[in-house]
Symmetry: C2
Subunit: 292 residues, 2 copies
């Protein structure tokens, strides 16, 4: 048993998946679920994935060894502020957010010196949300990036690492700033692009839109899956990783303008060269064992 008492705040796809694993693997003596929504708390109890579900956040975290913030990244600061005086000495706080820089900035000022914050980001998810969407296999063989702070307590980092290893994740230790840049490219920009293109399609005339949906399997379908991800979670990602996303977006725009010009001018060689170059990246992704 890794922990005496674990409290998960936010029982969406990620939080409820962690809850299921903690129960299944018996990683904690007591598991408490905290969620602002009564409907979510009721669902958690109905699913039997926590010992207790409550909207009372301070009571929920009392005596917890580990508190997991599984809320949208924009909410982490407010949650930290609320639980400040309810946390026990020596408690570990971790999160699951897709952005680390602003989360660290927003959470740290609210934590007492004898509470340990270990930011973490499991790179896993689906386009579904809510406590029903979670499942115990979600993190298996997926990366979990842990971004310890310069003065992070080593034992606290080890405990959080042990939790994610128990979830089946592969662990990577990374610097906060680097995490936010890498994720801006691999995750945040692709989501923004998918949200854009699916939005562009929704604005078409009704009969064209119907055909777009009917023939979506030709490429568009992949984008609709990405663009079906949780709106609030992703709103917060973009607001909180603004700098890195805008920088990468600028590069993307320059490259798109270049290809647009090549199409307009009928420059086939430039297009073919570009498409040949990108094909190599796919091979590297496959070689890295990242292709499904």
């Amino acid at each position: 048993m890794l922990f005496n008492k674990v409290t998960i705040i936010g029982l969406g796809l990620i939080g409820s998946s962690i809850a299921r694993i903690i129960k299944q693997k018996n990683l904690a003596k007591t598991l408490v679920a905290v969620d602002a929504s009564k409907a979510v708390c009721d669902k958690v109890m109905e699913l039997g994935i926590a010992d207790e579900a409550t909207r009372e956040i301070r009571n929920g975290v009392a005596d917890a060894d580990l508190v997991i913030l599984a809320v949208p990244v924009g909410a982490c600061g407010a949650v930290a502020e609320q639980i400040r005086y309810a946390l026990k000495d020596g408690a570990i706080v971790t999160d699951t957010g897709s952005v680390k820089g602003t989360v660290v900035e927003q959470v740290m000022p609210h934590l007492k010196d004898n509470v340990h914050f270990v930011p973490a980001h499991p790179i896993a998810g689906t386009e579904h949300s809510g406590p029903e969407a979670g499942f115990t296999e979600l993190f298996i063989d997926r990366w979990c990036i842990i971004t310890p702070l310069p003065d992070s307590d080593i034992q606290a980092v080890e405990k959080v690492t042990a939790l994610w290893e128990a979830c089946g994740s592969r662990i990577e230790i990374m610097d906060v700033k680097r995490h936010d840049l890498v994720l801006a490219i691999t995750s945040h920009l692709p989501h923004l692009i998918a949200y854009t293109i699916v939005g562009t399609a929704t604005d078409l005339e009704e009969d064209t839109k119907d055909d777009v949906i009917k023939f979506s399997a030709s490429g568009f379908r992949d984008f609709t899956r990405i663009a079906a991800s949780d709106p609030v979670m992703w709103r917060d990602v973009f607001l909180n990783n603004k700098e890195a996303v805008l920088e990468i977006l600028q590069r993307f725009n320059e490259d798109l303008t270049g290809l647009q010009k090549a199409i307009r001018k009928g420059n086939g060689q430039q297009l073919e060269d570009h498409f040949t170059k990108t094909r190599k990246i796919r091979r590297e992704v496959i070689e890295a064992g990242q292709a499904a």
Copy 2:
């Protein structure tokens, strides 16, 4: 048996899949493969997916009831010119290209009056190319859009329809112009965007690029698969559906600029509203039976 003699020109992913199906289902008494590459012809004979494989295009199409152009769309005109006098009276010519307008423009002037052209587009594919990449299940339950011309011979259209039904496809009859617009949205723009973003990533510093590949599962991976599609085929798609692609690209750019501005200004409500709207489209794609 649907045909006495079928000739497939171009034995890539699509052409070799059709060849496999024709052999498997015994749809033709004789199946001839024509390819400009000796290596491809040798591979076709080694695979046993045609009765004969030749680089001699005129001999290849002689006496054929049906000639299938499965070459990049930019090559269709030149192929039609080459086979003009070798086609028998009453022969049917069809194609498999992702663009229909320019193919019709380029092929029609070269065909004699007593030869029937029935343009078709099977919406199916993978990121792999070449005769080894084909398989008999490629078209099952996928759409095949047939775009007959105003004066198309009805029996010729029925014959081509019967071929695609035998491949397991769902048939849709559509106007040439509408086809090119719908595909620009559902397929051509998504491919262009994927090619762009993967290209943007390849230009990053080496260590960042390594991390992008390592953590590609967070969204980027889906784009690498699309951006691994055949470079020559896609070069020709963009050169030949220029007008529709550039029009849709302009709308996309406007929408992307709008979201970029929302991120820069921290307009969370606009982002959330947009992301909520796109989520609905996914549900419609699922309801239309198009989600995997």
